[in-house]
Structures are given as C-alpha cells and as structure tokens.
C-alpha cells in the first residue's frame, strides 16, 4: 500500500467550503461572543452545520450522513482548528456518534444517528474524573444494578459541552477486579428527561471549549442503554481515544499553522529600529525552525489519519507519534507567536492567546507529548522483540555495555 499525501479533489472542495463557511458564520468576533456565552453553543450555527452535512460527515447515508471517511473528517477539523472554532462538534461526532456507529445496536443507531446528522442531538462524553487523565484506573463513578436498570453515582470532570448536550455517554464502573480495564461500562443517557444530574461550568483556561462538572445522584439508566457489552467498555474507550487523538492532531496543526501565519505576517509589518522586525536574523531563524516543525507535524498528522482510515496495524503507533510531535511543535509555535508579537501578543484582545490555550489543552488531552513518546517507546520494545534483533555481536568486557554476545 502506498500512502498518497495531500488532498484529493473532494477534500479540496471540503476544505474550501469549510474555510468560507467558518469565515462567514464564525469570524473571530463571533468566536469571542461564544466565549462570553455560558454554554458556548449557538443552536443557529449548529443547524447550519447540519445543513451543510458536517454533523454526519462520516456517518453512513442510511442514517442521514454524508458517508465520508476519517481522512476527510481531519480536513474539516484542520479548518476548525484554524478558527479555534467553539462547537460541540468533536463531542458529538467523535465522542458519541462514531462509537455508536461502531459498537451500538441497530436500535441505538436508528435512535441517535439520524438526530446527530440533523442537528437535533448534541452529544458529549463523561469519562474523566479527579485526575483528568484518560486511563482505566481513574474511573470510579459507579453504576449499580437495580432490576432492569442501573443507577449512577459519582462525579465526572472536564465534561465538554455538557450544558448544550442532550445526550451523554457515561463511562462508569460496574465491577471492580484486579484489572482496572475490566468492569467499565458505557451508558448512553438522554439528559433532557433526567433527574439527579447536576451540571456546573468549570472555570477553565480555554473558553472556546466549555468544560463542566457533572454530578450524578442516583441517576437511573435502563440496561438497554448500555453501549456494547456490560463490563466491556474499555475497548470502546480505546476506540474513542485513538480517533479523537488523531482528530486533535488535525485541530492542533490547523491552529498551529494559523498562529504561525499571523506571526509571519506580523514580522513583515512591525517596524522597529527603522526596519521591519522580520529582517532580524534572530527572529528569522526561529521562524524557520517553526516552519520546519509544522512541515513535519502536518506529514505525521496526515499519515496517522490515513492509517486510521485504512485500519492499518500501525495506526495506534502512528497516532502516538503524530500527537507527540504535533503537540511539541504547536506548543512552541504559540509560545513563539506571543513572544514575537511582543506586548500586543500578551493582551486579551489579541487572538494569539486563544490559540495558545487551545493548543496546550489539546496537547494535554489523551496524554501529552511526553506520555505519547513513552507509548512509542513501548511500541519500539514490541517491534524489537518481534524482529529478533540483537544478532550483532558485542565486544566482551566493554565499559558501559552489558558486553555479552546476544547470539
């Protein structure tokens, strides 16, 4: 299989359409308004997104979707990243729509997917708790059996768009065993008719993406609302992790490239000491380093998205590589973006801090660059063991090495 990079005709069209749509429907002034809004959600904008086919972009046509693929989806996310777009798009499609499509019963799919495509459903995922890290052991919210139902108790944190959402996927513990990945179950909750659920906004740094605390107090959910199998929620969580991590790479690259463009434009117009500051070598060489980083970020991101689309066995490793690299690069891009803008870049009114915050939050989600690198190291370990490497002979008694032949 040979991967071809770049965009095909359809993707070029999607990109152009997305850029125009976002420029018209959500210019930076509108982004700022949505930041100020408590829910950060515009029903009007959401409806328009449904009308242009974005909400069901990767859902099959039989449910009202556009039937496009994961690589196409990253083209759209890339554009949304450029605009630090405030929207429950990732929450709805990546966190809930795609998992329902892949693990749901036919009934669940018929119930929810058409509503996602039409814009009637706004969805989110309640997975994280105290530590905010995506790992099985941290899931402590309990779901206990009561007849044909379960009752949910506990507190979820960092739940995106919870106030706008009318459907919520909840990761709860249904069994405690030695292995924390066992005994997690996912429940789909229609939040419009529920008692005992308290949603409170968190005061967080990236105001373009609203996060909430959600407290469950004996919230009943029918057993038929379980997604997948009882106790077997973790593999679905891994699916969500893989796809959303790749999605965030696309968003980060889009945001990083836009922040870099703003910075280069500024270097070309800002005058100091009688010349434009972009003529200073101290800034030129740093700008060149950022350009280099973004080039490789985009390549890794596109490669990871292709691997997911193709269900390639290397998909998980390529996503970890992309996330690590895109995170490192984009964090540097926005930090330098502020620095190179000088004082103006540090103000609330300038947009650079929106990019700075979004990228740092994205980098942290599903594990930052350091964590992702460790995943890569583990993959290298596996490859190393599989390949039976180590046939080359070492000199015995060498300082600093074990010194034994491995043959």
């Amino acid at each position: 299989m040979a991967i071809e990079f770049g965009l095909n005709e359809e993707q070029e069209m999607l990109k152009t359409m997305a850029r125009d749509f976002l420029a018209n429907e959500c210019p930076m002034s509108r982004v700022r308004e949505l930041m100020e809004d408590e829910t950060g959600f515009s029903a009007d904008l959401w409806k328009k997104m449904a009308d242009v086919g974005w909400l069901g972009l990767v859902l099959p046509e039989e449910y009202g979707g556009a039937g496009m693929n994961f690589r196409d989806l990253t083209v759209l996310l890339d554009e949304m990243g450029r605009q630090v777009f405030p929207s429950p798009f990732i929450s709805t499609l990546l966190y809930v729509g795609m998992p329902i499509l892949n693990f749901g019963t036919e009934e669940q799919k018929k119930e929810l997917l058409p509503k996602i495509c039409s814009g009637e459903a706004v969805c989110t995922l309640a997975a994280l708790e105290d530590d905010g890290d995506w790992w099985a052991d941290s899931i402590k919210v309990r779901a206990d059996r009561r007849g044909d139902s379960y009752v949910i108790n506990g507190t979820k944190l960092f739940v995106p768009d919870a106030q706008a959402a009318n459907y919520m996927l909840i990761a709860a513990r249904t069994k405690r065993t030695e292995n924390p990945e066992e005994g997690i179950t996912l429940f789909l909750l229609d939040t419009s008719e529920v008692w005992g659920m308290l949603t409170t906004p968190l005061k967080t740094m990236d105001e373009t993406r609203k996060l909430y605390e959600v407290v469950f107090m004996n919230v009943p959910i029918p057993a038929k609302n379980i997604l997948g199998e009882l106790h077997q929620g973790w593999p679905i969580m891994k699916y969500i992790e893989l796809h959303t991590t790749a999605a965030l790479c696309a968003e980060m690259v889009g945001a990083g490239e836009r922040a870099f463009e703003m910075t280069v434009d500024y270097l070309k117009e800002r005058v100091a000491f009688g010349v434009v500051i972009g003529s200073f070598q101290a800034l030129q060489h740093r700008a060149a380093d950022l350009a280099i980083g973004l080039e490789y970020s985009r390549s890794l991101m596109e490669w990871a998205a292709e691997n997911i689309k193709e269900n390639h066995p290397d998909a998980a490793t390529s996503v970890a590589m992309a996330k690590s690299f895109c995170g490192d690069t984009c964090k540097k891009v926005v930090a330098e973006g502020i620095q190179m803008h000088g004082g103006i870049g540090f103000t609330w009114d300038h947009d650079m801090h929106l990019y700075f915050k979004r990228i740092w939050v994205d980098d942290n989600a599903f594990g930052d660059s350091i964590y992702q690198r460790e995943l890569v190291a583990k993959a290298l370990d596996d490859i190393h063991q599989l390949s039976g490497y180590g046939r080359w002979r070492r000199m015995p008694g060498v300082t600093g090495a074990v010194g034994q032949s491995l043959i």
Partner: protein, 405 residues
C-alpha cells in the same frame, strides 16, 4: 488517498528488496558493518563498485535521459525503488559528486559537453570533485578569490580550494572562477569543468577531526582550462554554482539519486539505538529502562517517520508542481541536526566508552559510534551550514525580507 499497489509494482518492490539483501555488505545497517575508512583508496574502490552494481541493476540514474546514459523508468517505479533503498539506508550511487556535475551540465551544458561527460558519470567510470569552498569563502560563496585570465583558447586559473571531497581520486572537477575582477558580485564568476591531471593542479589531504582525510585542499597554480570547458556563459558562474548547491542540499529528497548524502551515516536506524540501550548499563541501570533515554530514542523514531512521511508528501507536491525547490532546506536542516542529536545521545548513553576509537580493542562496535559522533559535527556545516539553510527558509519560503547585514 491510499491506493493498492499494482501487482507489477509489488513484484518490483520484492525484486529490489531481494536484490538489496543479496548485494548489500554483510551486516549492513547495523554496527556489525564496519565501513572502510573514508577517504582511503579502499573506500573509493568500494563506492565505485557499489555504484556500478546499482547502475547495472537499473536502480539509479533516473534524473538523466537515456541518451546520456540515464535510466528511464516510470515515476511510480522510481518511487518504489527509492523507498526500498531508503528503508535500508542504501548508499547512493553513482558517485555523489559526479551528480553535482550532472546537475550543472543538464541545465547549462552544451550538447557536446553533456555527451562527453555525463555517460561516464552514470557508469562511474570517471570520478569527480567539486572545488567550491575557499579558505575565505564558505557560506559566503560569492566571495571566491580564484582568478581566471583568458589566454587564447584557454583560461589560466590560480587560487586555492578547501574541503574538496574525493579530490585525491578525481578525474574531473567543477570549479567557479572569478573571470572578471571588475564585474559586480554574482556577475563576476564563470563555471568550469577541469581535468584533474592538468599541470599545476595539486591536492594536499585535509585531515578532519575524526582523524581521517576525507577531504583535500586543492591548489590551482597556473592551471590551463580550455574555454570549451566553460559551463554556461561567461559571468553566469554564480547561478550555475547555486543550481549545483540546490541539487546538493536536496539529498534528503532524492535518496538513491546521488545528491549529497555526504557524511550522513547509516547508523540512524532506531532499532540500533534500542539494541544499544538494552545492552548498556550505567551505574547498574539498563539505559533502556531510563525514561530520559527512552524518551530520546522514541523521539528519533518519531523524527524518522516524520522525515519519511514528509519526503512522500513533498514528492506528491512536486508532481503537482507545488514545490519551489527551497523546501529541501527544511529537510537538510532537520536531518543533519537529527543526526547530531542522535550521536550526542549515544555518547551520553555509553559514557566513558565513547572515548575508544577504532583500533582500540575495547572500542564498542569497532568505534563506529565514536566515529559517527565526531563525524556528525560536520553534518551541519557541509553543503551549506544550517544557518544558511534557515536563512533560505525564512527568505524564500516565508517571504521575510533580506537579513540586515
């Protein structure tokens, strides 16, 4: 846009893979392979033999038309061959330096000049050297001091070059010369091919910090170069030289096509680092279990994939005509610095044993790590310093104004 590879391409991939397995030296790509010392007759002969093999197999020479001895193949086949070669870190052939002459000749040479020189570069029957850098003109190439004075059908050239690779073994050389001392910068140079056996041309080995003499200092003492050997017009030498440098910097994008992979060694395979880290203990701890080394090695794996993916992406852009040619500066800076970072990591990981050089019985892997460590210092200087390349990225790709001098 992933397409299933046709059966024909799959068969070719298999063919190349098998061929490489059978023809690459024993232990290639691992420290078990100990290359001949660079700059020696042995290394020169090995390189020549390898180039010939590659050419005979039809795996090289794609940028040159058949009439000049090139190998014409469809683009997708070229891509498969290059990919397989870069997977194994196969050394480029034919003669890297000859290819620089090809870059100049293809664009600026007359029909007669092309027919005379290119075919023997392709078969590697004749070796070439490049006399560009001077003691006082490295990054600032326009400051070249070599002079040429017209005398009948010849030019009489005087001056000196440094860092001339393979000068000891070269049959031909390329050299920009100041032919008009009164003309302004960038219009005062002419570009020549000269015969290395010409009277007055001499070579003194230049020993670098590895202890080897891979390069030479070359002296032009009233060397006569026929006017017929001028490439391009009189006064155009700067532009011809720039074209050659662009080809040289493109090393990362044209693996297997002979542009400069100078000094970028083949020990970069991450599995070698994993293996080394697993077998290295420092104060009782296995290096591979130390998060700092794990992180750095994983980073190199990521960077290797980034370069691989970008090379493919640039190739697609090139086919669509979306490349300016300056993108190779990105690859150049990144690969060369990565090479250095890797070497530094190894040096820090294996500790005191990095001191042992080849020839000491305690040297790890015949001293190849130490050699790579020392040699990599040159990587960010040769073929244009990384500073020059960053300047190209800033000015040509980002459109920033010319640097204030």
């Amino acid at each position: 846009m992933v397409s299933e590879e046709s059966e024909k391409l799959q068969a070719l991939r298999q063919e190349v893979r098998t061929w490489l397995r059978e023809n690459l030296p024993e232990g290639w790509g691992t420290p078990a392979y100990v290359p001949p010392v660079r700059g020696t007759a042995e290394a020169q002969a090995a390189g020549k033999e390898w180039s010939k093999k590659l050419y005979d197999a039809g795996y090289t020479g794609f940028t040159v038309p058949k009439e000049y001895g090139g190998v014409e193949r469809p683009r997708d086949e070229q891509a498969v061959i290059r990919e397989e070669m870069s997977r194994t870190g196969t050394p480029p052939g034919p003669g890297t330096l000859g290819y620089l002459a090809v870059a100049a000749l293809m664009r600026w040479g007359t029909e007669e000049q092309k027919k005379r020189w290119i075919p023997k570069i392709m078969t590697n029957e004749e070796c070439w050297c490049e006399c560009f850098s001077e003691p006082n003109a490295g990054s600032d190439l326009a400051n070249l001091q070599k002079t040429g004075v017209r005398d009948g059908d010849d030019w009489i050239v005087n001056g000196q070059s440094v860092w001339t690779s393979s000068s000891k073994f070269a049959d031909w050389g390329i050299v920009p010369v100041r032919t008009d001392v009164n003309a302004p910068r960038h219009r005062n140079l002419s570009f020549f091919v000269f015969d290395c056996k010409s009277p007055g041309f001499s070579v003194k080995p230049l020993r670098q910090m590895t202890g080897d003499a891979e390069f030479g200092e070359t002296f032009f003492d009233d060397v006569r170069i026929p006017h017929a050997n001028m490439i391009g017009e009189e006064g155009q030498g700067w532009y011809v030289a720039m074209g050659v440098l662009e080809a040289e910097r493109g090393g990362g994008m044209r693996i297997g096509e002979g542009a400069a992979a100078v000094g970028v060694t083949t020990l970069g395979g991450v599995e070698n680092f994993v293996e080394l880290a697993k077998n290295t203990k420092r104060r009782g701890q296995v290096a591979w279990d130390d998060p700092l080394f794990r992180q750095r090695i994983a980073q190199f794996a990521i960077e290797n994939e980034a370069i691989r993916a970008s090379t493919q992406r640039m190739r697609v852009k090139a086919m669509k005509g979306q490349l300016t040619g300056h993108e190779q500066s990105i690859t150049s800076v990144y690969r060369r610095e990565k090479n250095q970072h890797q070497a530094n990591m190894v040096a820090e990981m294996i500790g005191a044993s990095i001191q042992y050089m080849r020839g000491d019985k305690r040297a790890l892997d015949e001293g190849s790590w130490t050699y790579t460590f020392l040699r990599s210092r040159g990587n960010t200087i040769e073929t244009g310093t990384t500073e020059i390349n960053r300047g190209i990225i800033a000015e040509r790709l980002l459109g920033l104004p010319r640097t204030r001098m």
